[in-house]
Amino acid sequence: MFTKILIANRGEIALRILRACRTLGIGAVVAYSEADRESLAAQLADEAICIGPADARHSYLSAPAIISAAVVTGCDAIHPGYGFLSEDEGFADVVRAHDLTFIGPPAEVLERFASKEATRRLLGSHGLPTIPGSGMLRDEAHAIGEAERVGYPVLIKPSAGGGGKGMRLVRTPRELESAFKVSRSEAKAAFGNDALYLEKYLDDNRHVEIQVAVDRFGNAVHMGDRDCSVQRRHQKVIEETPSPALSNAARKELAERAVRAIAAAGYENLGTLEFLLDAKGDAYFIEINCRVQVEHPITELCTGIDLVALQIKIAAGEPLGLTQADIVSTGHAIEFRILAEDPGKDFKPQGGQIGAYLAPGGPGVRMDSHIYPGYEVPPYYDSLLGKLSVWAPDRAQAIARADAALREMLVDGVMTNIELHRAILANQVFIDGKVTTNLLDRVGSAPFVAAGNR
């Protein structure tokens, strides 16, 4: 096991990793940018080190700064969290070259799964249903030909990266023609890679993902599914487990197929396989996330497994220590991303100083947040203030607990989406478990916000 881990991330996930280190009795050093000097993780850490200026390119995205910090503080491993360098195979490789361990999949595994298009083919060959799509697009004419074959509407997707950047929904050849160049330059700018492919777009789809863990010895387990269908512009807003869109039989089958395919494909460490569910309930694999997910707490609440600790153990070369039979998922859990943004102003991210802050409590309530009274929310990074997760024996009770917790939560000083969450909870489509990924964008958030204010 490691003796000391450098936490190369910020916000709530830096704190989450710090907590896992303490639970495991491992030392931790929080690497922070100048803008995060006052962050809670940096304050609570036994050791913290400033790695660069606010600009993430020179701090959280700077491999030399992060590795140098790990070396001079005597760390033997680096936890990249999510985002930033968490799925960068080049970074993982350099970390290893400095005799440090990257906490995540080994570099060659990251490389194997780096291309979304190649991953889809690889896992398709191991028995996962994949969404109809194209190979890499050579040019516009090739794209138009492939779109005809797949059938409109189609999504243009960059092979690298995520977060909806460079992604375009097109319904006609004319739209495809104009969107192709834009997507290509956006992908180039965002990921340094302009490779694009096409995917059939499913109207009214749902997003369901399977959490898996694979150790170095090929032992593989799944921890059930998460439904992330409540999205705004391809960004997850609310996640829950188990998905209300799957029957228990379908859930079991999907999870088992996923874990079989990923083990056969030689994956290692924590991973999440994302699927789209069409209106008939058929699941299509879309992509894999080779990192700990933002929404991991709901799986932890239902299974009792500390996923970050497990991730660290796997990276240290330890066996999983549990079989599929050991993993029992009980009850229902829902996570709400608490964001510093103004729903009334098209969700514009908000900076500012936190005035009062009160985390909700009660049975089954968990708050993962790095904010505190007086904390200045830096304008340089994402707008995530924290995550409220609730657990209850069933979905109806989980919704009731979530609403009570959201009412109790107090975040002063910045605008947040707390009221939007309450409005979604009160919406009949959500109560019926029938939200599709396009719902918030289709109806707009105004009706939800208005309903929440009543």
């Binding site: 929080v30 304050q43 850490a45 080190i49 790695i51 009274p373 007086g374 904390y375 107090l410």
Partner: protein, 214 residues
């Protein structure tokens, strides 16, 4: 909303907080007066690379080769009485500060130390996280110009220059050769030239400025 906010504020008793702050201060006092000098002597005399002691909720760790730095940091921490008060100001719900002052550890004291330096003195700071190497030919009082390179920080074998931000005189060193330094850390104090002139130091103008690169 305002009513709830008030509840949150009075939720924790002021007495508890005051007691905690007082305990912290006592611990800091013991660390500074008794433990630290003894520890530093012990570490210097021994062949050990690192010593760690726990005192109440506090923990002190001294390590070579960054021993001198750690001592400076610890001393700065011990003297920074505002610590506990800053983190646990009365009237704020202390929701976030689970374990109180023990956790506010090695990172605070840089800013505390900065605040403690003499007003009016500027410093050359570290351009990166790495190992510090000062130029050997510079001594206190050497005149330097803005842009002069007065050392470098080794970042995984790559040298990053430590640059003087203003014309002035080299002051005392705030970090040792071979010490691990973080980004933005103050390395060498500088007495800006304007200030020297005002103080009427006749020697200042007479000293030659050092060349840009060693």
């Amino acid at each position: 909303m305002p009513a709830r906010q008030q509840n949150a504020s009075v939720g924790r008793t002021g007495a508890q907080e005051a007691l905690r702050v007082q305990r912290d201060h006592e611990a800091i006092g013991r660390l500074a007066d008794d433990l630290l000098p003894a520890l530093i002597a012990k570490l210097a005399a021994s062949g050990l690379g690192e010593i760690e002691v726990r005192e109440g909720g506090w923990k002190a760790r001294l390590r070579k080769p960054a021993g001198a730095d750690e001592a400076r940091r610890l001393a700065a921490r011990a003297s920074a009485e505002s610590h506990a008060a800053r983190g646990l100001a009365p009237g704020r719900p202390a929701v976030s500060h689970g374990r109180g002052s023990e956790d506010r550890d090695a990172r605070r004291e840089d800013s505390e130390a900065t605040a403690k330096t003499e007003p009016g003195l500027v410093a050359a700071t570290s351009p990166a996280v790495g190992v510090y190497h000062p130029r050997r030919d510079l001594t206190v009082g050497t005149r330097v110009q803005a842009g002069d390179r007065i050392g470098w920080v080794d970042v995984l074998g790559v040298q990053q220059d430590v640059i003087v931000p203003v014309d002035g005189l080299i002051g005392s060193s705030l970090a040792e050769a071979g010490e691990a330094v973080e980004y933005g850390q103050r390395l060498v104090q500088l007495d800006p030239l304007e200030r020297v002139d005002e103080s009427g130091d006749p020697g200042a103008q007479g000293r030659p400025a050092v060349a840009g690169n060693a």
